[in-house]
Amino acid sequence: MTAPQIEIQLIAAVVAIACAIPGVFLVLRKMALISDAISHSILPGVVIGFFLTHDLNSPWLILLAAVTGVITVVLVEAIQKTGLVKEDTAIGLVFPALFSIGVILIAKNANDVHLDVDAVLLGELAFAPFDRLIMSGLDLGPKSLWVMGCVLLITLTLLILFFKELKVSTFDAGLSSALGISPVIMHYGLMSISSVTVVGAFDAVGAILVVALMIAPAATAYLITSNLKKLLVLSILFGVFSALAGYWMAHLLDASISGSMTTVLGVVFLLVYLFAPRKGLIAVMYRQRQQRTEVSLLTFLLHLNNHQEENERHINHLNEHINWQKVRSKTVVDLALKNNMILIDNNVVSLTEKGKEFTELALEYIITNKDENIEPMKEDFFLFRG
């Protein structure tokens, strides 16, 4: 690996971490779309900041652009508060308006500004190592690494300091307010951090793809864990993995880095969506199939429980009595045998003690819907896991 390659990957990883952290809270607050709005509407802020500073990595530019991001949120909320339009409509009204101002500003001044719409939308990580931070003749590395490093440091510090405040105001704004932890302050704090992060990451990955770096890792991690701290850690891991894998994919294909990163993010989400242990598609389908079988088993046991007469319990007539096809009947009988719930004597099926006990417990659960009765059975049967 060459030095610029390492630098690009470092920047990518730092950007991914810095985006993943606010992204988790945006996803939990159902505000994913707001990040999209911010990433576009900061454009006029970036352009004006660039006129003033002539440096895409200047802290002033970042602050100015971040203010535009917060203004977006304020405008969206103001429009929404009129009660005339809903939030999604308000978002749809605000960000194209601000973005278009930015586009016009760029077009009007295109001759003297090294800033074009393509770079703004897609970013260009490959150029990041060329813009270096040099202090008294000493080369300290790429500027954007320093910028994003600072953003990440601020984000991490705030996250650690205000973790409990973020948690309670996200989960229960009413309680948070009553406790004196103002949800309004937390809301605007999160919006400010998101704006700063978006602006900082903007140069590296562009306005469109920064949204993917914020939302996709959190959405992916949410499929795996139900613990907020793990959610944060997993989001960071998914983000960094996708950023690095994306870089190498771009390297192999000789394609856009940001495009490849986002593709990897999408693929990772898809894989987790399919294979996640509890919420994944395959796990859900498997569980539903098991539940179907178990419902059949229960029906079968109830039938045995209800009928003393032997002809109702004859193995060869069961299909007719319960109105099932042969395959299903066989699966169910096998399952019941395996669990020692039935005995087959002379082709006549009868419940064992265990079978009777199980049937009664299950019946009680169905009637009372009370969890306590079946707590020990949950481990063995999907049916009772809700």
Binding site: L161, F162, F171, G174, L175, S176, A178, I181
Partner: protein, 244 residues
């Protein structure tokens, strides 16, 4: 004379210039278990939220033991409507209860062993100790409500506000909750509950406020819980409605 826990003066609240609470005067003495009753849209939740400074009123004032709410936060515990939060939030029952301690901790400081111990005790009080590590979406409606109640208990307050704690809970949980509320009253606490089931008011509560945008009446259940006030509040001849 008995102490006044909550005093509300000339409180008016409006959403988009439409008043939802109109010139409310209300005095709640210390140590009562009070129901706020009224039809849908009567402003019951809004009344609680404006007392707790969650909603800004356009006029009027609120005093908790003679001082503004902001100075008295630690004396007050609040149980919002169960439906007001997202139960898919990635956290456990114990963690939700611990949130009750955040108010006394203040900003930045983290809960420690002391807070954890208090939270476990609160969970035990509501019969939910064995569910402490359960993901909250895996709890039934009644269990979620108990967790919310535990979160209020851990605040160890003097005044408890509860917004429809009996909504969507089974009979066992309802009895468990009301018993805890009665215990709180016995311990000299003041409990204010937004309540829907008029049949149970005389059995559960000793004080009642009738509300329908305006305050209709407030006082001891045995004196004012009558057909006259019910009719005034619900706008129909209540006796007839019940007999149907």
């Amino acid at each position: 004379m008995e102490k006044i826990a909550i005093q509300v003066d000339d409180l008016t609240v409006a959403y988009n210039y439409k008043p939802v609470l109109w010139d409310i005067d209300l005095v709640i003495p210390e140590g009562v278990l009070m129901a706020i009753v009224g039809p849908n849209g009567a402003g019951k939740s809004t009344l609680i939220k404006s007392i707790l400074d969650i909603i800004d009123p356009i006029a009027g004032s609120v005093a908790i033991y003679g001082k503004p709410y902001k100075q008295q936060r630690k004396l007050v515990a609040y149980v919002p409507q169960k439906g007001s939060v997202d139960w898919d939030f990635p956290t456990t029952a114990l963690d939700v209860v611990m949130m009750g301690t955040y108010g006394s901790l203040g900003w930045i400081k983290r809960p420690g062993q002391k807070e954890k111990k208090a939270s476990l005790e609160a969970l035990e009080k509501v019969g939910m100790l064995s569910f402490k590590n359960r993901q909250i979406s895996q709890l039934s409606g009644g269990q979620q409500q108990r967790v919310f109640l535990a979160r209020a208990l851990v605040q160890n307050a003097s005044i408890y506000f509860m917004d429809e704690p009996f909504q969507g809970v089974d009979a066992t949980t309802e009895i468990a909750i009301i018993n805890i509320l009665k215990e709180l009253r016995k311990a000299g606490k003041t409990v204010v509950v937004v309540h829907h089931d008029l049949q149970t008011v005389p059995e559960y509560f000793d004080w009642v406020t009738f509300l329908n945008v305006k305050k209709i009446a407030t006082g001891p259940v045995k004196d004012i819980f009558n057909d006259d006030n019910l009719t005034k509040t619900y706008g129909i001849n209540y006796k007839v409605a019940i007999n149907k």
